[in-house]
C-alpha cells in the first residue's frame, strides 16, 4: 500500500519534469515504469524509515488541518466580548486566618464540604485536619513517608485521602476519639510505580480519583473503596454524560482532557511554553484554566476546542503553582513561586490585584466550596485563608 502511494507521488513529479509531449505516453507506460530516482527497496530498514517519514508527514499534515479547523470558528477574542462588562472596582482581600503547625513545606490542601474545615499535607509527612475558622487542629496523621504531595477531603467529611512518596494513596477515617491511632485504621491503594501527585474524591466517599506522576500516558483512574474502606481493585471508569468522570490533567506542556470510560484522551491543548502545574475547571464545566512554570495562566474552552485567554504580565516572572476560580468564575486566583497571589479578571484579562503575605512560594490554592474565601498553602510552613 505504502509503496504504491510513494510510487504515485513519484509518477506525478516525474511527469512534471517531462516535456509536455511525453505526458500522453505516460499512462500506458506507468505499469512498466521503474522510477529511476528511488533506489530499490532492498532492505527492510529502508522500508521502515520511509514508512516512518510517511507517518510523520501525515501526522504533521493532520495537525496543521486541526489548527486550521480550530481557527475557522474563532471569530472573536474574549476581551472583545467582555468590553461591555462592567470593570471591577478596588479589590481588597486580606489574610483572615493563618494556620501554623506544619513543620515543613505545605504541599497540598483541600476544603471540606462544611466550608470551614480543611486538610493539609506537608513535606514533613504530616497530614493535618484543621477547623480553619477557629484555627484549631482537629486531627493529625503522620504518614510513613515525607513529601505528602496530595491530600483530599471526603465529601462526607469523615475521611481524608493522601499520598506521596510512599507510592500509595491512603484513606484515613477521621475518628473523634482523640486517643485512637488514626493510622491503625487506614486503608491503602498501591500505585505500583511512582508517587501520587494528586487525588480527589468524586461525588462520594467511595471513590477517589488518583493520578500518578511520571508516566508517559499519565493516567487518572478511579478506585472504588468498599464502605468504610476495605480495599478493592482498580478498574476503568466509564463516561458519564454529566462530566463526573471526565478528568483534567496537566502533563508537561500539554493540558489533556480524559474520558474515563475509554481511558482515552479526548482533547489536548499544547500552548504553554513550560510545564503545567495546575489545572482547574471553570465553574460551568465548559472550560478550564491552567497555571504553568512559564508564569502564565491560560483559559481553554472545551466546546470551542482552543485556548481563549492568556493571563500574564511582563513583571510576573515566576511560575504559577496553583490556580482556582471564584464561585462565579469571574476571578481567577493564581498562587505563584514568587510568594504572591495574583488575582485576574477572567473576562477582561487584566490583573485585578496582587496579594502579599507568604514568605515562600505558594504551593497550593483552593477556593472554599461556598466561595466565601480561598486558602493557600506555602513552603513557609503556613496556610492562610483570604477573604
Amino acid at each position: 500500500m505504502c509503496k504504491h502511494y510513494l510510487y504515485s507521488i513519484l509518477c506525478i513529479s516525474t511527469s512534471l519534469c517531462f516535456k509536455p509531449f511525453r505526458c500522453r505516453s505516460l499512462p500506458a507506460q506507468r505499469k512498466y515504469m521503474r522510477s529511476p530516482p528511488i533506489p530499490e527497496m532492498a532492505t527492510q530498514e529502508v522500508q521502515l524509515s520511509e514508512t516512518l517519514a510517511h507517518l510523520k508527514t501525515e501526522s504533521d499534515t493532520l495537525k496543521g488541518k486541526l489548527e486550521e479547523e480550530r481557527a475557522k470558528l474563532h471569530d472573536v477574542e474574549l476581551h472583545q466580548v467582555a468590553e461591555k462588562v462592567e470593570g471591577l472596582g478596588q479589590f481588597v482581600m486580606k489574610t483572615r486566618r493563618t494556620l501554623k503547625g506544619h513543620g515543613n513545606k505545605v504541599l497540598c490542601m483541600d476544603w471540606c464540604k462544611d466550608k470551614r474545615r480543611i486538610v493539609s499535607s506537608s513535606q514533613d509527612g504530616k497530614v493535618i485536619v484543621w477547623d480553619a475558622f477557629t484555627t484549631n487542629k482537629e486531627h493529625a496523621v503522620t504518614m510513613p513517608c515525607t513529601w505528602v504531595m496530595a491530600c483530599a477531603y471526603a465529601p462526607s467529611g469523615c475521611a481524608v485521602a493522601c499520598g506521596g512518596l510512599d507510592n500509595k494513596c491512603s484513606v484515613y477515617p477521621l475518628s473523634l476519639d482523640k486517643n485512637e491511632n488514626l493510622a491503625a485504621k487506614k486503608k491503602s491503594v498501591a500505585m505500583h510505580t511512582n508517587y501520587l501527585s494528586a487525588c480527589s474524591f468524586t461525588n462520594s466517599d467511595m471513590q477517589v480519583r488518583l493520578s500518578r506522576m511520571g508516566e508517559d500516558t499519565c493516567s487518572s483512574f478511579v478506585t472504588a473503596l468498599h464502605h468504610f474502606f476495605d480495599l478493592t481493585e482498580l478498574f476503568k471508569v466509564f463516561r458519564h454524560v454529566l462530566h463526573d468522570f471526565m478528568s483534567l490533567q496537566g502533563c508537561d506542556k500539554k493540558a489533556n482532557v480524559w474520558d474515563m470510560r475509554s481511558g482515552q484522551c479526548i482533547q489536548s491543548f499544547e500552548t504553554h511554553e513550560s510545564d503545567i502545574n495546575s489545572v482547574r475547571y471553570y465553574p460551568s464545566g465548559d472550560a478550564f484554566a491552567s497555571g504553568s512554570d512559564d508564569a502564565t495562566c491560560r483559559l481553554y474552552d472545551l466546546r470551542a476546542d482552543r485556548e481563549v485567554a492568556i493571563y500574564s504580565k511582563e513583571s510576573i516572572i515566576f511560575g504559577v503553582s496553583s490556580v482556582d476560580f471564584s464561585l462565579s468564575g469571574r476571578l481567577l486566583f493564581g498562587g505563584y513561586n514568587d510568594y504572591t497571589i495574583n488575582v485576574w479578571d477572567v473576562l477582561k484579562g487584566t490583573r485585578v490585584s496582587i496579594l502579599f503575605g507568604h514568605e515562600n512560594r505558594v504551593s497550593t490554592l483552593r477556593v472554599s466550596p461556598d466561595g466565601t474565601a480561598f486558602c493557600t498553602g506555602s513552603w513557609d510552613h503556613t496556610l492562610r485563608t483570604w477573604a
Partner: protein
C-alpha cells in the same frame, strides 16, 4: 527514595526560564539610555563606582512596569535574593531596602545561571582563599564545611590550595576598589549558592520532577499512529464558534455574580471577615426556610436544583403531586449505583430493575424501547455504569418537561416568596471587640452519632 533537590534535568529546564527573565530585567536596568542612573558610593574609606540605592531600584521598577511600590519592592527583593543585585552594606542580608542603602549589579560571571551548578571544587577554592586571607578566621559554618570538603575531595587538595594562592596573588595586583568589588561579588555568589545554615535557600526547588516526557517518547511509528488517530478523532468533533462560547462565560459570570461572596459579599456577612457564622447557619443543607439566593439558584439549571438537598426534596414533592416521582427516585438510585460501593452494585442493580424497569413494576419509569432493550441486556452483566443510558434518558425527560413546569409552579413561587433575605451585618467597628469564634460539630461526629443511633435502633 533519595531526593536530590539540586539535580539537573527538570529543575534546570524550569528555572532557566525564570533566570532568563530576571536577567532581561537586569539588562534593562543597566541600559545606558533607559536604565538606572548610577553613582559612586562611599563604602568606609573607599569609593565604589556604579552603585545605586535601594530607592533607585524601586523607583525604576515602578516606572518601568507601572506598578505600585509594594510590588516593586517585592520584585526588587527577588532580584536581590537571586543574587542579581547585592547589597554593599550588610552583605549577608539579602534584602532590598527602600532607602539609601547601596547596591550593586552582580557581574554576569557570577550569575547563578552562568555556572550552574556551583561545584564543590569552586567552593573549596573560595573557602581556601578566604582561609588564607583571613588567616583561619572563617565563620563557624565555613570552618565545618571546609573540613568536610577537605575530607571529601582530599585527592585534589593540592590543586585547590594552588588555585587559591594563584587567585589571591592575581587579585593583589588590582586596585583596592576593584579588589573589594570582586570580593563582594564572589561573597554574594556563595551566599546564594551555599547559604549559611538557617538562612533561606533560594535555590531549593523541591522534589525533583521526572524527566521531560517528550524527550523520553520515542518517535516511532506507534507514536505517530497514535497522533494520527488522535487528530482524526479531533477533526471529527463538533466545535462551537468562539463568540457563542465566550458569550457563555459572560452570561455565567453575570448570573452568578450575586452568589459570589468574594465579588459581591454575602449576607448577613462573610464569616471569615466578621467572625460571625450566621451565613453558614442559614445555609446548611437542611434549614426550615432557605435563603432567597439559594432558591433563585435552583432556577439557573437543573443540575443546580439536583445538587441541593433541599431543592431535590422540593422537586420530589412537586413530582409527587404530578405522579411522576418515580423519575427522580430512579435517577437517585442510579446515582447511588454509580458512586457507591463495588460490592453492592449487583444487589442495587437488581433492586432498580425490580422497582423501576421490570414490566408491572411498582414505580415503572417510561424509557424508550431502544434504551430499555440495551439496559436490560446490560443488566445481565451488571457494572457501575450499566444504568447510564436509562439514567440519561430520564434526566433529560425531567429537565425538559418537569423542571420548567416546576419553576412556574405555585410550590416554587411560594418557596421563593417565603425565602429570607438576611440583613447585612457590618463588621464591628471596634477592633478589640472581637467575637468569640465558636467551633462547629465535626461532620465526622454527625455521622458517628447517626450510626450509633442506627445501631441502637
Amino acid at each position: 527514595m533519595t531526593i536530590n533537590t539540586l539535580a539537573k534535568g527538570g529543575w534546570h529546564r524550569d528555572q532557566m526560564a525564570c533566570f532568563r527573565k530576571m536577567e532581561k530585567v537586569i539588562v534593562a536596568m543597566q541600559d545606558p539610555d533607559m536604565g538606572m542612573k548610577m553613582r559612586n558610593q562611599r563604602l568606609l574609606i573607599t569609593v565604589i563606582p556604579h552603585a545605586m540605592t535601594g530607592r533607585d531600584v524601586i523607583n525604576w521598577l515602578m516606572q518601568k512596569y507601572n506598578m505600585c511600590e509594594e510590588e516593586a519592592l517585592h520584585l526588587g527583593g527577588m532580584l536581590v535574593r537571586y543574587g542579581y543585585i547585592y547589597p554593599l552594606k550588610e552583605p549577608r542580608s539579602l534584602v532590598l531596602r527602600a532607602d539609601e542603602s547601596p547596591y550593586r549589579f552582580q557581574t554576569p560571571y557570577f550569575w547563578t545561571s552562568t555556572r550552574w551548578p556551583a561545584t564543590e571544587l569552586d567552593y573549596a577554592i573560595y573557602l581556601a582563599k578566604k582561609n588564607i586571607r583571613k588567616q583561619g578566621e572563617l565563620m563557624e559554618y565555613e570552618k565545618e564545611r571546609y573540613s568536610v570538603l577537605h575530607k571529601r575531595i582530599n585527592h585534589t587538595w593540592d590543586f585547590v590550595v594552588m588555585q587559591a594562592r594563584e587567585q589571591l596573588r592575581a587579585s593583589k595586583q588590582r586596585r583596592k576598589a576593584d579588589r573589594i568589588v570582586l570580593e563582594c561579588q564572589e561573597q554574594a555568589y556563595w551566599l546564594i549558592n551555599r547559604p549559611p545554615p538557617g538562612a533561606y535557600n533560594i535555590l531549593d526547588m523541591g522534589l525533583e520532577r521526572p524527566n521531560n516526557f517528550s524527550t523520553r517518547v520515542t518517535l516511532n511509528s506507534d507514536y505517530y499512529k497514535r497522533e494520527i488517530e488522535f487528530c482524526r478523532r479531533a477533526l471529527g468533533r463538533n466545535r462551537v464558534k468562539s463568540s457563542i462560547c465566550l458569550e457563555g462565560f459572560v452570561k455565567y459570570s453575570e448570573q452568578y455574580l450575586s452568589h459570589d461572596p468574594i465579588m459581591q459579599g454575602c449576607l448577613p456577612s462573610n464569616p471569615w471577615i466578621s467572625d460571625d457564622t450566621a451565613h453558614w447557619t442559614m445555609n446548611t443543607e437542611v434549614v426550615p426556610i432557605p435563603s432567597r439566593l439559594r432558591v433563585e439558584r435552583w432556577s439557573f439549571s437543573f443540575m443546580e436544583l439536583l445538587n441541593d438537598a433541599m431543592g431535590r426534596r422540593e422537586f420530589m414533592t412537586y413530582l409527587e403531586k404530578e405522579f411522576s416521582a418515580e423519575n427522580l427516585c430512579f435517577w437517585q438510585a442510579c446515582e447511588d449505583i454509580r458512586h457507591g460501593e463495588n460490592s453492592r452494585i449487583v444487589e442495587k442493580v437488581e433492586e432498580v430493575y425490580k422497582n423501576f424497569l421490570a414490566p408491572g413494576a411498582a414505580r415503572w419509569v417510561n424509557i424508550d424501547s431502544k434504551t430499555m432493550d440495551k439496559t436490560l441486556k446490560g443488566i445481565q452483566h451488571p457494572h457501575r455504569f450499566v444504568m447510564d443510558d436509562a439514567q440519561m434518558h430520564i434526566y433529560f425527560l425531567m429537565k425538559k418537561d418537569s423542571f420548567p413546569r416546576y419553576l412556574k409552579s405555585d410550590l416554587y413561587k411560594n418557596m421563593l416568596a417565603k425565602a429570607i433575605v438576611p440583613q447585612e451585618v457590618k463588621k464591628s467597628v471596634f477592633p478589640f471587640m472581637r467575637r468569640q469564634r465558636h467551633s462547629s460539630p465535626s461532620p465526622a461526629q454527625a455521622v458517628a452519632q447517626a450510626s450509633e443511633e442506627e445501631g441502637r435502633a
